[in-house]
Amino acid sequence: MSNQAGIRWGDSVLFALVVLRRYRFRTGMMLLAMTLAVGSVIAFTALGEGARGFVRNEFASMGTNLLVAMPGRKETTGGGGPPPATGTAARDITLADVKALRERLRGADIISPLMAGKIEVSANSRARDVMILGTDAGYFTVRNLQVLNGEILPAIDLELAQPVCVIGSKVRDELFGNQQAVGEWLRMGDRRFRIIGVLAGKADASGFDLSDGVLVPVASTQMLFNRQGLFRVIVQPRPHYNLDKLRDEMLAAFRELHQGEEDVTVVKPDSMLQTFDQIFGALTLAVGAIAAISLLVAGVLVMNLTWISVSQRTKEIGLLKALGASHTQVRRLFLLESVLLCAAGAVCGVLVGELLVLLGRLLWPTVPFAAPAWAVVFSVLVALFSGLLFAWLPASRAARQQPVDALAGRTT
């Protein structure tokens, strides 16, 4: 009888498993190394992804699908990046500019001016320094701001300095406690404003906590601070209107309004988000790569332990050859041992890594830790591959042994 098939896969696996059980220390060491390596890749990339998700969420609260214009020129207006820190512009953006933009930009749905400043407000003989935001009704739509009671700022001409305001919930609590605030008067500087609404919740916008702020019509803010220049202009495009196109049109309009001067910066918070997203993506990759070094170290350990195993089992190799095992079969047996170990280590590593991720989410619920799928797949594949690669040399040496020498316990 002659069976050409060679050793069956099931039998190879069984044979390898018996070896692995027999050499417990070696098995344990390799398992541990692979577990730590794969686990650390997963844990570290989850950390990077968590940071990325955290920043992304923060940006999302700034609003997406918007354009923000600010006075001052930035050289690299193309990519996004952070806006200029202070508005040291040659020329202000004025309410007249906003009105002109409203007429010209057909792609814009809402164009809202924004002025900001700090001032002391008082009511009920209580005073408090708060952030004043001068804007218009459209801003409430753009930022999706809701009022608890009362109403939002009236849709009036931008130049009209009506003495009304919408206050944040914290300001209400501080100045009025449980009393009704809507309808009351609020003193700001030497002017009085009627409270027409109270903002709901923690209304977060562009990093300002509006619950501790007061919204007033933009023209009133100009009077309060005796300033003309706007801090920002927020533009929300019509649905499906291309944001880049709108941005170009906006810049062109400003250039025309400002006698050919390019002294306005228009940014897309989306593209800034993208930039940060890229930075944190690269960071994830970097920490992942550092963790992947441990995969390499584990691979070298695999190689060493397989060398030892081959030397220890020289006679066995000779015997297998005498019993009719070929080169290929002997190599396959040794490779299989290593691959099985690495596979088991990879599985343990994934479990340990995901457990750490779970722990991280429990400890820091606001950070969305999650190992990216590519990191899991990559680390497992690399573990398996390094099992093959690093065991290849020693396994090939085993396969090359001359049976006569091997049986005598001599390595060749």
Binding site: M1, S2, N3, Q4, A5, G6, I7, R8, D11, F15, V18, V19, R21, R22, K315, E316, G318, L319, L320, K321, A322, L323, G324, A325, S326, H327, T328, Q329, Q402, P403, V404, L407
Partner: protein, 227 residues
Amino acid sequence: MISLRGITRQFTLGDEIVRALDGVDLDIAAGEYISVMGPSGSGKSTLLNMIGLLDTPDAGSYTLAGTETVGLPEEARARLRAVRIGFVFQAYHLIPRLTARENIELPMVLAGMAPQERRRRCDDILQRLNLVERAGHLPQQLSGGQRQRVAIGRAVVMKPEILLADEPTGNLDSRSGREVMALLEELNASGITLLMVTHDTVLGARARRQIVFGDGRIVSDTLAAPA
């Protein structure tokens, strides 16, 4: 069945070239019982390894069952070893982590034989070796004689034509040695070709055909009258 022509094998020991086999011509017919004797270093073990395809000659030709083996690729030689040749070693060479049954099963596992067939042959052999109760024991739990019987079982489980035994009783006490010899001779009687290397002249004298080796050459090759 076996035909060696001008087989030469030399080793280099330091500056010295040692001819372990020096142009050996030998024919072996199926079913023969041959002992190979001679002093240490006379080349008898090298001859055994040569016939067992564990070693390759530097010169000469070796035909096994009509196939010229010199120049065959390693895979083909491994296949020939698997199905045509059984080995019995002085040091048993059992795999310590495998039970008696698993050791006997090993050549069949390597050949990829189906599990049912493996079990059937194992049961058969264990019965013939009188080792049924010991089947689940590891080698270290067996006596020397039992170990060698397991090794013989492993050697014949693939039903080879030739059984090559290198000092099969060398590590055994005389009683176990006699048992092992009886087993080998019984196998020979049932048709297997038996070639045994030994320096024990009493043991060697039991064979029908006795070859004496010296300095890599056949010194004498005699047929004894049946005892």
